[in-house]
């Protein structure tokens, strides 16, 4: 199962509050988002950042679990930390290559939503970086507050 470097780092005095949780099956997304919301509520971050965090993480998790990919390969790891008032996140999972920073496809139907979720991710995040090592997808990003 994928592990992010963030999870393996030794803590330092400069580290702010951190959150780390694994989601093994798609229904567990509910529990992770609840825990995420509670973590965000306990921090000195704006409501806008907290809301955008929920929206972005939910979208990325739904993408990771689409077609059962992440479930078959051990789930998804979500890591967050707050550094200098910035909320940085990493999502890592094994599965088919998927870069959320790539230009989203237009929805198959003019009234569809497919592809629009990635527009939301790209608009609400900063420094979105995708890396693939072997079978592991890793997405690093900050949540934008503008």
């Amino acid at each position: 199962m994928a592990r992010s470097d963030l999870h393996d780092r030794a803590p330092s005095d400069r580290d702010g509050p951190a959150f780390s949780q694994h989601v093994g099956q798609r229904p567990e997304i509910v529990d992770l988002l609840k825990a995420l919301d509670a973590f965000a509520a306990a921090q000195t971050i704006s409501d806008r950042v907290a809301q955008r965090l929920h929206v972005v993480v939910e979208e990325l998790l739904e993408n990771a679990f689409s077609h059962g990919a992440a479930e078959r390969s051990g789930g998804v790891r979500v890591d967050l930390r707050i550094e200098a008032s910035k909320l940085r996140a990493t999502i890592a999972y094994d599965g088919p290559e998927f870069d959320p920073g790539a230009p989203p496809a237009e929805p198959a139907a003019s009234d569809g939503v497919g592809g629009r979720g990635l527009r939301i991710v790209q608009s609400f995040s900063r420094g979105l970086a995708y890396a693939r090592t072997g079978e592991t997808n890793r997405v690093d990003f900050e949540i934008a507050d503008d």
Binding site: I29, V30, R48, V55, E58, E62, V113, I120
Partner: protein
């Protein structure tokens, strides 16, 4: 007016008939956890909307919507359109407005500022139920 709330849910729903139209007001957040209840309510109310009438979704009580919620709205819009009716979304503000704007659904959804303005589209008297 009727109200429902999912078990342990962060979402409650108020429903009000206006002639052949319906007003649905979700209160809380529409996300991965609550969208199934939201979708069920939209489906149920859309089935009750008459041809030429409208299903008005008042999002003024919603503090967050994700793409799961947007999918529910768009599927309902399509279903209503096939039945000769219309979806109108009102009360879009704050974080909800941000999501609808960046997803570019503001160009596909019929948006009105208030329930009254939406009901005027269908000749409904906002004061009547």
């Amino acid at each position: 007016m009727t109200s429902t709330s999912g078990s342990g849910s962060d979402l409650s729903l108020q429903v009000e008939p206006h002639g052949q139209s319906r007003v649905v007001k979700p209160i809380g957040r529409i996300d991965f956890a609550t969208t199934p209840d939201f979708q069920d309510a939209l489906t149920q109310q859309a089935a009750a909307v008459g041809r030429g009438a409208g299903l008005i979704v008042d999002l003024s009580g919603v503090d967050l919507i994700t793409s799961a919620g947007l999918r529910a709205l768009m599927q309902t819009k399509k279903r209503l359109s096939e039945a000769g009716a219309q979806l109108v979304v009102v009360g879009v503000a704050g974080a909800v407005a941000d999501v609808i704007r960046v997803s570019r659904l503001d160009t596909l959804l019929t948006l009105k500022p208030t329930v009254s303005k939406a009901l005027e589209m269908f000749g409904s008297d906002p004061g009547a139920a």
